[in-house]
Amino acid sequence: MVNAATKELKKHEKDQEWWWVAEKTRSKRLDYLRKAVWKKGAIGGAYNPGIKIDLERPILFTEAWKENDQDPMMLRKAKAIAHVLENISIFITDQAQLVGYIGSLPHTIQWYPEGASIVNEEVYNEPGTVPEPKEKSLKIMAEINDYWGGQTAIDKLGRVLNPEDLVKYMSGVIGWGVPTSAYGYAGKDYEYILTGKRGFEDIIEEIDGYMDEAEKRTSGEPGPDIFPLYDKMLNWEAMQIILEASINFAGRYARLARVISENFESNPKRKEELMRISETCEQVPAKPPRTLQESFQFDWFVQTLARFEAYEGSMPCRPDYYHGPYYDKDVNIDKRLTKEEALDLVGEFMIRTYEIGVFAPRWAREGLQGITGTWVWTMGGVNKDGSDACNDLTIAFMQAARLVRVSNPTFGFRWHPGVKDEVMRECFECIRHGLGYPSMRNDPILVENTVYWYGHPVEEARTWVHQACMSPCPTTKHGFQPMRMASATANTAKMVEYALSDGFDRVVQMQMGPKTGDPRKFKDFEELFQAWTAQMEWLMNILVRTVNLGRAKDPEFFGRPFLSAISERSVESGLDAVSPEGERGNCWVTFFTWVENADSLAAVKKLVFDEKKYTMDDLITALEADWEGHEEMRLDFVNNAPKWGNDDDYVDDIMVRCLKEVARHSHEIKCPSGNNWPALPENVSGNIHYASLVGALPNGRRLGDALYDGGVSPGPGLDKKGPSAVLKSCSKFDHIKDGRAFLLNQRLSPTQLSGEKGFKLWKSYMDTWADLGLDHVQFNMVDDTTLRAAQSDPEKYAEVIVRVAGYSAHFVDISRKTQDNIIQRTVVGL
C-alpha cells in the first residue's frame, strides 16, 4: 500500500516541484543544516535582513597592523592575520560535521578594510548591515575608515596609475572589478596541496630547508646573487607564521568540539561526532588527510583561511577529482561510511560553501544578484593521461546537489566522449530539477584552447578548473593563477556605442574612448567598422593596462602570505604567490554585453548602408534622443534587421569578423607574464547592472532596457529559428582560436524533457553541440508558469533556482528586471 507521504512525494515529482522533493527526501541532518544557513547573497542590490558586518576581523587586523609597522608587507600581513586567527570568535553549528567560517558569527559577512577605501566607505554607508549597538559600531567603523583612508591597496595603486586610466576605469561605465588580489579570484596549486602528499607541518619543514640554505649563503661569500635572499627569508618567515597560525586555528576548533562533547552534549551519537570533529581538526591541515571527512575538512580550512586573507570571489576547484580517492577508500574499500553517510558529508561540504559571506560592493552585488561569489566547481573531465576522471564522487555530488539545492556552489561539467551514460544521466537530472547546473563544457575543445592561448603543456591543461564562471585554468605549480585579474571585465556594448558617438559617453557626459570621427559623416560600413575596431582596442587596452599594473604591484601593495604558503612555486622561490614570476599566464578579458555589437553593426549595415532606408544623420539623431520621437524607426531596427542566433550569415559574418579582430588584438596585448589576453564573452547579471549605463543602440535598445543575457546567447526572444539555428550560428567561429570561451544560455521545456524520452532528446542535442565544436552550454528548465507564480508569491516559491548567466540564483533573490529577462528568453523545443 502506498502511504500518504509517498503519494505526496509522487505528486511533487509529477508537478516538478523539485524543491519539495528535495526537502522530503534529504536526511534530517542535511535538512537542518540547509535551513540553518543565513543567506548572504543580496536580493538585487540589497542584503537580506539580519545580515551584519563582522567587526572582529577588521578590529583585530588593524590592531596588529598598527603594531607591526616596521615589517615589510608579507610579514606584517602574516602577523596581522595570525592575530585574527588567534582571537576571532569561532562557532560549531548543531549537527555539523565540517567546521570553519570566515566570520565570527553565522549571520556576519566579512570586511577587508585593507583592500579599498571606496569599499570601506560603502560598508559604512550601507543600510541595514551595521551591527548593534549601532552607534558604537559606527564609531568603530569610522575610526577604521579614517585609519585606512589613503592606505589601502587600491589607494596605493591609484597613486601609480595613469590618472586618465584611473578615472575612466573608476567611472564604473566601461568595466568592473578591482585591480588587486584583495578582491581577486584566486586559483590554488591543488596539485601541491590537495593530493594527500603533505600537510602544513610538512610545508613548514620544507621552508626550513630553504631558509637554512639561504642563511648559509647570506653568511658566506658576498655577491649580488645573495641580495634577493634577504627579502625572501622574511617572506618565508611570513609563510611559516601563517601556517602555524592556521594549524592553531584548526586546533581551536578541535578544542571547542571536545569542550562541547565533554561538557554540554548529552546525546551519545553527537558526542562521538564531536570527538571525530576534534580528531579531524587535530589531523588537518597540520598533516595530510586520511579519510573523506578529513579531506573535505582540509579543503575547507584552505578555503576559509584564504578568505581570512582576501575576498576571494571565486572557488576554482575540482572536488570530485581531489576528494574522489578518499570517497572510494571510505565507501567502497574500507566500508567505514555508507553511501548515505558519505552523501551527508558531500551535501554539507556544499552547504558550508553556500554559507560564505563577504561584503561586496554594490556593483558586484548587482552583477551577481543572489550570490556572494562565483563558486563554479569543476566536475568530471579527464586525468592527466587523458582517461576519464569521473568517479563515484562525481555522481555523489550530482545527487547531493539535488538534495541541498543551493545556488552557490554550482557545477561546470567537463564533458568528453568517454563520459559514461550513467554520469550524463546524473547531469541531466540536475538540469531537469531546475538547478540550472551543471553547465556543460566541451573538454577536448577547452584543453586545446588552454594549450593554444597560453602554451600550458597538455598534461597540465587537463587539470583545468573554472577560474571563475567560465575560464579554464590549470591547478599546477606554474599554471595556477593566483589573481584572476577581475578588473579586466569590459562592458563591450560601449564599443559600438562609442563608435557612434566619437568616443563621447552621453550617459556620464565624459570623453571616454578615442575620437574616431563624427559618425554622421561615415560613408560606408567599413568606416564604421574601423571606428568600432579602434574603440574595441582602446577598451581592452585601458582595462588590461590597469589590471596588469595592479597585478605587478600587488605583492608590494597587498600581499598574500597564506596563498603563497600553499603554492609550490612560492614556497620554493620565496616570492609572493601573486608575483608574475613563475606563472605561465592565464589571463582573459571578460566581455559583458557582447552580442549587442554584432546586432547593432548588422542593423546599421543593412538599414543605413545597404538599403539606404535611413541616413547616418537620422540614426545618430535618434540615438541621441534615446529613440524618443522615433518609435517607428526604432521598431524597424528591432524587427527588420537581422539578429544573431538565427543561422543568418548576414549578421553571423559580422559577429565572426568582430571576434577575429578581438582575437588578433588579444595576441598583441600581454599580461605581466608576457602571455596573451583572449576574450571571453559572458555576462553574469551585468546585463541588468549596465542597463542604465549603456545608451541607446542601433539594435533598437533604449537607455535603461535590460541588455542581452550574454556570452554568445542570442537576444532574449530574438532567436526565432529554433535551437539548431542557434547552435549553427555559434559554430561559425572557432571556439579554440577566436577567444577563451563562449557562454550560451538555452531554455528548455521541462514537459518535453520529462522521463527517459526527455533524456534521449537532450543527449541527442548534446551530441550535435559537441559535433559542432561549441565549448559551453547551460540550461534553464523551469517553465514560465512557475516563474510567474514565483513573481506573484515569492515566499511560496523561495527555493526555485534559475540559471542567470555563469551562475545560478534563487529566483526570488534577483531583481524584477532580471526575472523578466529570464522569462523573456525563448523556450526551445528539441
Partner: protein
C-alpha cells in the same frame, strides 16, 4: 625665477586627487553622517558613481575646475571631465541645484544609479 615643472595628468589628475581626498580625510562619524539641507546627493544633476556607493558621484552639468563652495562660486561648463563631488557636499551656493524627488533608496531593484541614493544616511530624509 624658480623653474616650474610641467603639470601632468590635466583634469584627470585633478579628478583623481579629488576622489582620493574624499576618501582619505579623517572625517569621523560626524563627517560621514551629516547631510546638509542642500546637498549634492539631493540634486537632480548628481550622478552617483556606478562603481560604488561610497557616496561619490559626478555633476552632470559642471566640469572639473568648478568650485561651488567659493564665494562667488566658480562654474565651468566646458571640458572633458565632469566635476567630482560627494552626496553630502554642501551645495547651497550652487545656482544649478535642483531638488530631485528621491524615489528609490531601497536598491533591491538595482535601480538606475543616476537616480538612486542608496546611502543609509539618505534613507531618513524627505522623499
Amino acid at each position: 625665477m624658480a623653474r616650474k615643472r610641467k603639470t601632468r595628468g590635466g583634469d584627470w589628475a585633478q579628478i583623481r586627487d579629488a576622489q582620493a581626498k574624499s576618501r582619505s580625510t579623517a572625517k569621523g562619524v560626524e563627517g560621514r553622517e551629516h547631510v546638509p539641507e542642500i546637498a549634492c546627493g539631493k540634486c537632480k544633476k548628481f550622478s552617483e558613481n556606478a562603481y560604488g556607493s561610497d557616496g561619490s558621484g559626478y555633476c552632470t552639468v559642471l566640469k572639473m575646475g568648478s568650485d561651488v563652495t567659493k564665494e562667488p562660486p566658480v562654474y565651468i561648463l566646458e571640458g572633458e571631465a565632469s566635476l567630482v563631488t560627494m552626496f553630502n557636499m554642501d551645495t547651497s551656493k550652487c545656482k544649478y541645484y535642483e531638488k530631485m524627488a528621491i524615489i528609490d533608496t531601497d536598491a533591491t531593484e538595482c535601480a538606475d544609479p543616476h537616480y538612486r541614493r542608496t546611502q543609509r544616511q539618505m534613507a531618513n530624509l524627505d522623499k
